[in-house]
């Protein structure tokens, strides 16, 4: 990371630490969801951005993480923290397992295969009602004797979410500057050339996938505990995957800050519109996304970096540069 990057990151972190003190609980909860989405987008970015393997099934790990936590806390009466740790490990292992066949596929075929994994996993959860509650959902006991962990409340979950995001960003930053990160980017740019200079492509892809899965599962675990009752439709919703992709891409895929910036921008914008354009906010939101793509075709982070470097924001120039 550059020095300027580190300063910005530290400042952002400080602001995020102060935030709960200044916000109403409902807004803290909104911010918690923003942080979780930023984690998801950052995690997606490791496999989808750096390695260029656009997973359309990362929600599988979100769901797997959430359900692992829920099942461990209800059926095994484990406390939350060990549950979420195990959830992350489990998801990473699962990713490595499915990654073995699936990461052999390229491009869009990979995208669909992972989508299939997520949809399949959801159906498995629906069809195991004894363990998972099936379609009726599973409720983590938070009151009374069956509660294993004190329910941390709105602010408590904010801290959990912040911790998870910090982990995700730290991992991303570490990956980005490392040899491993170069390997992933080489794979993204030209897998044959990457192999020919000595990148162990299979191992690198598996590691990236597992890492992405583990971080995603952490977010899933926090989300599940916060929600108390979770349902397969929501925890394995394709929409969440799409949002991960959209946020990472809009912010700037294969950058450390891009997914975070994208998640903050989109989630806060979405929230703002939802509050102020009752019932029509998605129309406005859709239109804004369309406009953002047209004017910031390299993503927010790269486009603003360019504008900063050139001391000039040429929106129309960009349009001219990318149109057919």
């Amino acid at each position: 990371m550059t020095r300027a990057g580190a300063v910005v990151a530290a400042a952002a972190f400080a602001v995020l630490c102060l935030l709960p003190a200044g916000l109403a609980p409902g807004d803290v909860r909104t911010m918690t969801s923003v942080l979780l989405f930023a984690t998801l987008a950052s995690a997606w970015n490791i496999i989808g951005g750096f390695a260029g393997y656009a997973s359309f099934g990362n929600v599988a790990f979100f769901g797997l993480g959430g359900y692992s936590v829920a099942v461990l806390m209800t059926k095994a009466s484990w406390p939350f923290l060990p549950s979420v740790a195990v959830a992350a490990v489990l998801s990473a292992a699962f990713a490595a397992l499915v990654g073995l066949p699936v990461l052999r596929l390229r491009g869009h075929y990979f995208a669909i295969a992972t989508l299939g994994v997520a949809e399949g996993l959801r159906e498995v959860v629906v069809n195991l009602p004894r363990l998972t509650g099936g379609g009726a959902g599973i409720t983590i006991p938070t009151l009374g004797a069956r509660a294993t962990t004190h329910y941390p409340g709105t602010t408590g979950f904010y801290w959990y979410a912040l911790a998870v995001l910090v982990a995700a960003v730290a991992v991303s930053a570490a990956v980005s500057g490392s040899r491993f990160g170069y390997g992933l980017r080489a794979i993204q740019l030209d897998e044959a050339a990457a192999a020919s200079v000595g990148v162990r492509t299979t191992a690198a892809k598996l590691a990236a996938f597992a890492l992405s899965a583990a971080l995603t599962a952490l977010a899933g675990g926090v989300f599940a505990f916060q929600q108390v009752t979770i349902y397969p439709e929501r925890l394995f919703s394709v929409e969440i995957t799409v949002l991960m992709v959209v946020m990472a891409v809009l912010g700037g895929a294969a950058t450390v800050s891009g997914p975070v910036v994208g998640a903050f921008t989109l989630r806060l914008l979405d929230e703002y519109l939802r509050r102020h354009f009752l019932g029509t906010h998605l129309i406005v939101f859709g239109a804004i996304i369309v406009a953002a793509v047209v004017f910031l075709p390299q993503g927010v982070v790269r486009c603003s970096a360019d504008a900063w470097r050139e001391r000039r924001l040429g929106l129309l120039d960009t349009v001219r540069a990318y149109r057919l």
């Binding site: 869009h108 859709g286 990318y322 149109r323």
Partner: protein, 295 residues
């Protein structure tokens, strides 16, 4: 035995609809490398056109289908020309983002304009069926399968055999060189997108005829399209048909002999199995691999 045959018939007929829904998606994805998330919205839009024509003019849905296709062709052409062409040179996933925005916009406009009520385009004959012994073949779905086959064949001939089709494929592989050859890529891309939208529109009318539709269904049609086109092999029109039929059959047989709740899980299991053996889909050629994404 009757059950087996009935399941096979159900699967093939459902597969025909899936194939038609996915056909245009596969065309656009394979040729222009645009993952059109808004494809499902085109399907729903087509259904509305057909419904409106039937509701207000009493137009036969099969004629309505032609009108819907024409209307959506124009819409698709305009969208590509005016909007998507602005970002085709941006990184690949940006177009996905763009169409995601379009889909949000479209679906919610439908909700506003038409409410999210369920609708269907009623016809007397579509719900009747041909009885072959114990096996029933509903006419509506049979027609849908027929349309799917005809459209696929037509598209294959168009793309593989005509000058414009060749230009479409060339433009998809290397835009800037295609322009050097005198191909008007903006137009060709717009035609491709328009065709895809037209097919979606036609599919929408058929979906509305044999079942129901409402705006939130759009996402599901996009998902089906995804699976069908990848299963068959991207950008391969025959593949989309094969993919749709295979998907329909898998769902039908799994529903019949395993559990009806497992149909989607099974469909994806088959998808992954197919890709494990054929990484470019059933009939896919790895031409996506050799695409030149430079300008």
């Amino acid at each position: 035995m009757a059950e087996f045959l009935q399941a096979a018939v159900n699967g093939l007929l459902q597969g025909g609809i899936l194939a038609l829904v996915g056909l245009g998606f596969s065309l656009v994805w394979g040729v222009t490398n645009i993952v059109n998330i808004a494809h499902g919205a085109f399907v729903v839009a087509g259904a509305y056109v057909g419904w409106e024509l039937h509701d207000s003019l009493g137009l036969n849905p099969l004629l309505g289908m032609l009108v819907a296709a024409a209307v959506l062709f124009v819409v698709g052409y305009g969208l590509q020309r005016g909007l998507v062409n602005l970002v085709v040179n941006a990184p690949v996933w940006m177009t996905l983002l763009l169409t995601f925005g379009l889909q949000l916009l479209a679906v919610n406009v439908f909700v506003k304009v038409a409410t999210s009520d369920y609708r269907s385009i009623p016809t007397g004959w579509a719900a009747r069926s041909l009885a072959l012994g114990d096996v029933r073949v509903p006419y509506g779905r049979l027609v849908a399968l027929g349309v799917a086959v005809v459209c696929t064949a037509g598209l294959v001939v168009f793309v593989e055999r005509t000058r414009t089709g060749r230009a479409i494929r060339a433009a998809g592989m290397d835009r800037s060189t295609a322009r050097l050859m005198g191909i008007d890529v903006r137009h060709v891309y717009a035609v491709t997108f328009g065709l895809s939208a037209a097919l979606a529109g036609a599919a929408g009318v058929l979906v509305g005829m044999v079942g129901t539709f409402s705006p939130p269904d759009a996402a599901r049609y996009t998902l089906f399209s995804f699976v069908v086109s990848v299963l068959g092999g991207l950008g391969n029109m025959g593949g989309a048909l094969a993919g749709g039929l295979l998907l329909g059959l898998v769902q039908a047989f799994v529903g019949q002999y395993l559990a009806t709740t497992l149909v989607n899980a099974a469909a994806f299991a088959v998808l992954i199995a197919v890709l494990a053996v054929r990484p470019s889909g059933l009939l896919g050629r790895p031409f996506y691999e050799t695409r030149v994404e430079a300008r």
